[in-house]
Amino acid sequence: MATEILMPALSPTMEEGTLAKWLVSEGDTVASGDIIAEIETDKATMEFEAVDDGTIGKLLVAAGTASVSVNTPIALLLEDGESAEDIEVKTAPATATTAPKATPDQTTKEAATTPPAPQGGQPQVAPQPDWPEGTEVKQQTVREALRDAMAEEMRADGDVYLMGEEVGEYQGAYKISQGLLDEFGPKRVIDTPITEHGFTGIAVGAAFGGLKPIVEFMTFNFAMQAMDQIVNSAAKTLYMSGGQMGAPMVFRGPNGAAARVGAQHSQDFAAWFAHIPGLKVAIPYSASDAKGLLKSAIRDPNPVIFLENEILYGKSFDVPVMQDFTIPFGKARIWRAGSDVTIVSFGIGMTYALEAAEKLAEDGINAEVIDLRCLRPLDTATVIASVQKTNRCVTVEEGFPVGAIGNHISAVLMQEAFDYLDAPVINCTGKDVPMPYAANLERHALVTTDKVIAAVKKVTYR
């Protein structure tokens, strides 16, 4: 019985990749561990090894094919006594771009490797553009936008440097710093040991000493080790010194749940950092915001927490082609104008908010969707003005429900727009549990588009 060799998932969030090169031909004998192909993802090129011994019966996907979904059969492996002719009649060749959903087994595997984020299209663009009308735009991933922001600011200011685990020679654990070591050298792109508390403290000291460090946390989960230096040293020194010295620096990295990595690697810390006076907190959703806000963060004379999201890294958005594109902090973006309800979100939550808004529109509910983009300073004025128009509000975030950003928005609306509210504000959040590993439990723990839709229907009494 021939074995299907499937397109591998090379990271927890990989959905598709390019089959760059076959290193075997039909008829070749392979042993377990032999490298049979090179697979390119947006992060890296990886060698793909044979799992079983056998003979390559057929290559189903040609070298150079892009966008091959994870779990698509890419080759057939023959066991002893089988020949290619035997199987050719049995198996219809799978096309490269559509993942087969034929067997229950494959469906299960696919669920296991696909992130819980819905695959919404590019949403309708905001009524308030962040760049002048007529500006040329190009499609860029969030990952590329972040790298460009760092590179541009490092070119402009010799005091800006990047430090963190694997930012240099490895080119970034999530490939955000790709190419920076080559351009700026090891003095300014510094690989640290795995020692978050220590290197964060060193970066704070360097900021006191006049540099503008960018600290990359491989993920913000590891920033917990450095919380004292972030909160007690970076955030408070300007105040404690009566304005004499502060920490002009950026702490950045992926925040929130990735996919199937369990409780210690899946947590949204947005509300934690937003709690601290002295910190600024940015949490972009789109690539243009990632670029414009990161450039502002690097120039800001204060410590900035810059919360990225692994699942968004590979998503593409329009980014303006401009000499020097920045987005000021504390200015929300209205992604979609509407009159029936205000959906307020940020970061990955925007994926659910926008998809919910599209589906709600089909039911005749016209939602206004606001991306906060920054949690500190927080643009409450835009939210209040919107709720004064729609009279209803649903907040969407991935974090835990107690002390959530949505709680704060609700309190602000109660104090500032009480008479305008026609329904209680509903906070859609992650569940109040450590993130489970099992795929079904994880999906259940996260906020989803359906939960946002249900909340909107509740506040609009549908």
Binding site: T195, A206, M240
Partner: protein, 293 residues
């Protein structure tokens, strides 16, 4: 009474440490320490009026009254705090040295911490990186033998803190912290090592604090006799006094005159700190964020 609020950690008994090391610095060298910081500030030339007014929480204080005893800074004198979390100043000090190395300006940072802080994990994370990157930082362990109320032998598995850098290849030496000239000499060795680009250096300076950990510490963990013996036999200021008189570098009258001058400075600082107004209520909301230019 009651003019100084909250904690106040006195430095009495440890004076020779900062005086000796400051004598080994050059203009532009940096220093950072813990909350037991008043001695460091005075020794590096900060204005006693500003220090005292900060202790009393007044507008004329170094931090406009918003930092307090544990949090004072002076960019002008290259004094980077005044840090309240035990051990947190150690990576910060290495970071200051990192900035100097980055700027290639030849400066050295003195990073002070106590025998208590020497057991914090971030100290060893910092030792590793400071050695790895050859940072120009002198780690000064002010071993006053008690981490708050815990004697060193009850908190520390090995007695010799100056060897704590050995695992990272950082040279260290132990110094008699009651002898100001010995401290100065050791400081010169250390700073020379750093300035020559050889990376960090550790000085374990054996000293003694006469008063409790803070003003609220009754110091029941040691005997009065122990303190008294140290004051009578090892006092760093008395040692200098004897040195000056025996060597005929100064007369009794000279020293009395110095004492008188210092009392005047202290009284003037006390007056200043009493007369300086409390900070304006509007100050509550300033210095939280630096303005974006």
């Amino acid at each position: 009474m009651g003019l100084i609020g909250g904690f106040c950690h006195l430095y009495i008994g440890q004076e020779a440490v900062v005086v000796g090391l400051e004598a080994a610095t050059e203009e532009g060298d940096k220093r950072v320490t813990s909350y037991r910081d008043h001695g460091h500030m005075l020794a590096c030339g900060m204005d006693p009026n500003g220090v005292m007014a900060e202790l009393t929480g007044r507008a004329g204080g170094y931090s406009k009254g918003k930092g307090g005893s544990m949090h004072m800074f002076s960019k002008e004198k290259h004094f980077y705090g005044g840090h309240g979390i035990v051990g947190a100043q150690v990576p910060i000090g290495a970071g200051l040295a990192f900035a100097d190395k980055y700027k290639e300006n030849g400066r050295v940072t003195f990073t002070y911490f106590g025998d208590g802080a020497a057991n914090q994990g971030q100290v060893y994370e910092t030792f590793n990186m400071a050695a790895l990157w050859d940072l120009p930082v002198v780690f000064v362990i002010e071993n006053n033998q008690y981490a708050m109320g815990t004697a060193q032998q009850r908190s520390t598995s090995t007695p010799d803190l100056y060897t704590r850098g050995a695992a990272f290849g950082i040279p260290g030496e132990v110094v008699d912290g009651m002898d100001v000239l010995a401290v100065k000499a050791a400081g010169e060795t250390a700073v020379g090592h750093c300035r020559a680009g050889n990376g960090p250096y550790i000085l374990e300076i054996k000293t003694y604090r006469y008063r409790g950990h803070s003003m609220s510490d009754p110091a029941k963990y040691r005997t009065r006799e122990e303190v008294q013996k140290m004051r009578e036999e090892r006092d760093p200021i008395e040692q200098v006094r004897a040195l000056l008189l025996n060597g005929k570098h100064a007369s009794e009258e000279d020293l009395k005159s110095i004492d008188k001058d210092i009392k005047q400075v202290v009284n003037a600082a006390a007056d200043f700190s009493r007369e300086s107004p409390e900070p304006d209520l509007a100050e509550l909301w300033t210095d939280i964020y630096a303005e974006v230019v």
